[in-house]
């Protein structure tokens, strides 16, 4: 779950990290009031879960509360990369002497968290030359010890005993603490700025591990999903909307990707990615099928290779949808093999649906039906 910038900063502040003065507003009037409290030049930043807000005009620099009101009004009516702006963050405008970069994320190949730091921040870290990027993997049994943080500061070329150096040592350790305590798979500050002798987090990107939400009850929930994505998420399934015309469901992320690849290779276009998972029962599978039909596709393609998933459950789900809808509104092609395959096929036969043995044949058939 990605958090809005203002939420990330609230989280940072709770952990004692330095953030700019200010807070979130959802109306121009609130924005003006916050600007008045700040009492000087401000920044009004659109709160959307996308980068490139500045380029899209979603960041303004008002000097007075009245200007802040106008800026907020304008920004709150914007749509940035398809996302409507529903809130702004109003903050003091910082005096920026230097911009740095700091993040902790998961390195899957090292199977560890990794701290990434650079004395040159502000832009996309991937665009920095390799020699300006410092990486420190974090041994989970040791954690981020003070000496490790000091060594990162040294490599950034910042004097360890300077006010900046001491603060960055603290920030590095605190960020790792946040990662562990909040199950954050990404915390990123870009830019981290030097403002006179202070070091301040001028931005925040925090992503919480979706798999850990069960133990993160005190965090606000950010919902940036479309209705179909939301419905799939509620069923515990993984769903991504695409822009083709064949709605697809398969059981397993790899085979779902393989199914989309196959359709595309044969000249078809998938409308979505829907992994109906392993061991999803009859009822949830029926609901997942309902999501596919709700996308108004030209055809529906179900590709099941049952391991923990039982073919009879899938077949019954297909039958349930068939009966609930009084027949299918668009053609449904199903490939069904694996655990309890014979029972599953008998059920399908009872509603006149024939299952394919091979993905290749089924994929060709469904594309034929959409031409």
């Amino acid at each position: 779950m990605k958090m809005f910038e203002y939420m990330g900063k609230e989280l940072f502040a709770k952990y004692g990290l330095p953030v700019p003065k200010g807070r979130m507003a959802t109306t121009p009037e609130e924005a003006a009031k916050i600007a008045e409290e700040i009492g000087g030049p401000c920044v009004v930043k659109s709160q959307v879960l996308s980068g490139k807000r500045g380029k899209a005009g979603g960041i303004k620099f008002p000097n007075t509360p009245e200007e802040a009101r106008k800026a907020a009004e304008e920004v709150l009516s914007m749509t940035i990369q398809g996302l409507p702006v529903q809130a702004v963050l109003v903050e003091e405008k910082l005096k920026i002497d230097k911009e740095l970069y700091m993040s902790i994320t998961i390195d899957g190949s090292a199977k560890q968290a990794v701290l990434i730091a650079s004395a040159y921040g502000g832009m996309d870290i991937e665009e920095q030359p390799e020699e300006y990027i410092i990486k420190k993997h974090i041994d989970p049994e040791l954690g981020m010890m003070p000496f490790m943080a000091r060594d990162v500061v040294r490599k950034m070329g910042i004097p360890i005993r300077s006010p900046h150096g001491k603060e960055i040592v603290n920030i590095i350790q605190t960020l790792y603490k946040i990662c562990l305590e909040k199950d954050a798979e990404l915390v990123e500050i870009n830019p981290l700025v030097f403002s006179d002798d202070k070091v301040i987090a001028a931005d925040s990107k925090v992503t919480i591990d979706d798999d850990a939400m069960f133990r993160m009850k005190d965090l606000p929930i950010v919902d940036d999903k479309s209705p179909a994505e939301r419905a799939a998420k509620d069923l515990g399934l993984s769903f991504v909307e695409l822009d083709g015309d064949i709605a697809v469901m398969a059981n397993g992320a790899g085979i779902t990707m393989g199914t989309l690849d196959t359709l595309q290779a044969f000249g078809g276009t998938p409308k979505n990615f829907l992994d109906c998972g392993g061991g999803t029962g009859r009822e949830a599978t029926a609901k997942a099928l309902d999501i596919l039909f709700s996308l108004n596709p030209k055809a529906v393609f179900v590709n099941i290779f049952g391991g923990i998933t039982r073919c009879d459950d899938v077949a019954n789900a297909v039958k349930d949808q068939y009966e609930a809808k009084g027949g299918f509104p668009v053609p449904l092609v199903i490939r069904l093999v694996g655990t309890n395959q014979d029972t599953g096929r008998e059920i399908l036969a009872s509603i006149g649906v024939e299952a394919f043995d091979f993905m290749e044949d089924a994929a060709r058939r469904v594309i034929e039906l959409t031409k």
Binding site: I106, P140, T256
Partner: protein, 290 residues
């Protein structure tokens, strides 16, 4: 031979009294797997499919030699269950559970490394040594004995490809599911090294996917291998920035792309199959079978 598990492997099922675990215990027994014990706290003394259930893994280990465990407990309890097995000295721990928090995974993997245990998963279908032993959830009929080693990140796609191999008369030495999550116990290189040393294995099928860089890292080792490698990479059609189900399957900041992986593997001498059902033909060619 075969790698990691064989016909002599004694297996414990963690959470054996659960619905999925008991169903798959039956399936594994039918495959010929030696399941000697189960463990569910509070259900000690019961039996499931004739297998005795213990309250703790230590208790099971006092009564049986346990070589491998398979974990079927809910995600919030998985770290405890996995570490309980590693701590008791079990050498191979197969974690089927999906949705385990990534920091729990990191801890499990680090502890296993310290204790010298092999962890498959989390979020794996398991491991099968063709005709000898199956630990996990794949359907039995598609896995037969032979000389093709298979290593994969994702489950059902592996059944698909292994099913195609079997239909073409190509049996498997061992089929290894590393797991679809970001922090899993093994890397492609770990498994490729085992296959390279294994007498039974004559060719290797590697099933990867977009995201991360483990296929690219593996390509470096493939250059040195004496055995042929055939690869399939899922996610060619995936748009950047969209996570395709697996925690790791996402093209971020231009990294982990399909083409990058294909180029690295091809340069290393591996044959890359464009689609899943193209794999058997490439394996036949690699083995010199007409």
């Amino acid at each position: 031979m075969a790698i990691i598990i064989d016909e002599n492997t004694n297996v414990l099922v963690m959470g054996i009294t659960g619905k999925q675990a008991s169903f798959h215990t039956k399936q594994m027994l039918a495959y010929g797997t030696k399941i000697v014990a189960g463990c569910t706290p509070g259900k000690g003394g019961a039996t499931v499919e004739g297998v005795p259930v213990y309250n703790t893994v230590r208790e099971a280990c006092e009564n049986h030699r346990i070589d491998a465990s398979v974990i079927f407990v809910p995600a919030p309890a998985t770290k405890d269950a996995a570490i309980e097995n590693i701590e008791a000295g079990v050498g191979v721990v197969v974690i089927v559970t999906e949705g385990v928090p990534v920091y729990d995974e990191i801890q499990i993997v680090a502890y296993a490394k310290r204790k010298g245990a092999i962890v498959l998963g989390p979020n794996t279908f398991g491991i099968v040594s063709g005709g000898k032993c199956k630990i996990g959830i794949p359907p039995n009929q598609y896995f037969i004995e032979g000389n093709v080693g298979v290593v994969a990140r994702s489950g059902t796609l592996t059944y698909e490809i292994t099913g195609n191999l079997t239909a073409n008369g190509l049996g498997q030495s061992t089929v290894v599911g590393m797991g679809g999550d970001r922090a899993v116990g093994l890397t492609f290189i770990d498994v490729l090294k085992m296959f390279e040393k294994d007498d039974q294995t004559k060719a290797i099928v590697m099933i990867g996917e977009i995201g991360g860089n483990s296929e690219e890292i593996a390509a470096e080792y493939i250059k040195e291998m004496t055995k042929p490698v055939v690869a399939f990479i899922a996610g060619k059609s995936a748009p950047p920035g969209k996570r395709m189900g697996h925690a790791g399957a996402i093209i971020e900041r231009g990294k982990g792309t399909y083409q990058g992986k294909v180029d690295a593997l091809t340069a290393a001498g591996a044959k890359v199959a464009p689609l899943p059902f193209d794999v058997p033909q490439l394996v036949k060619e690699a083995l010199g079978i007409k």
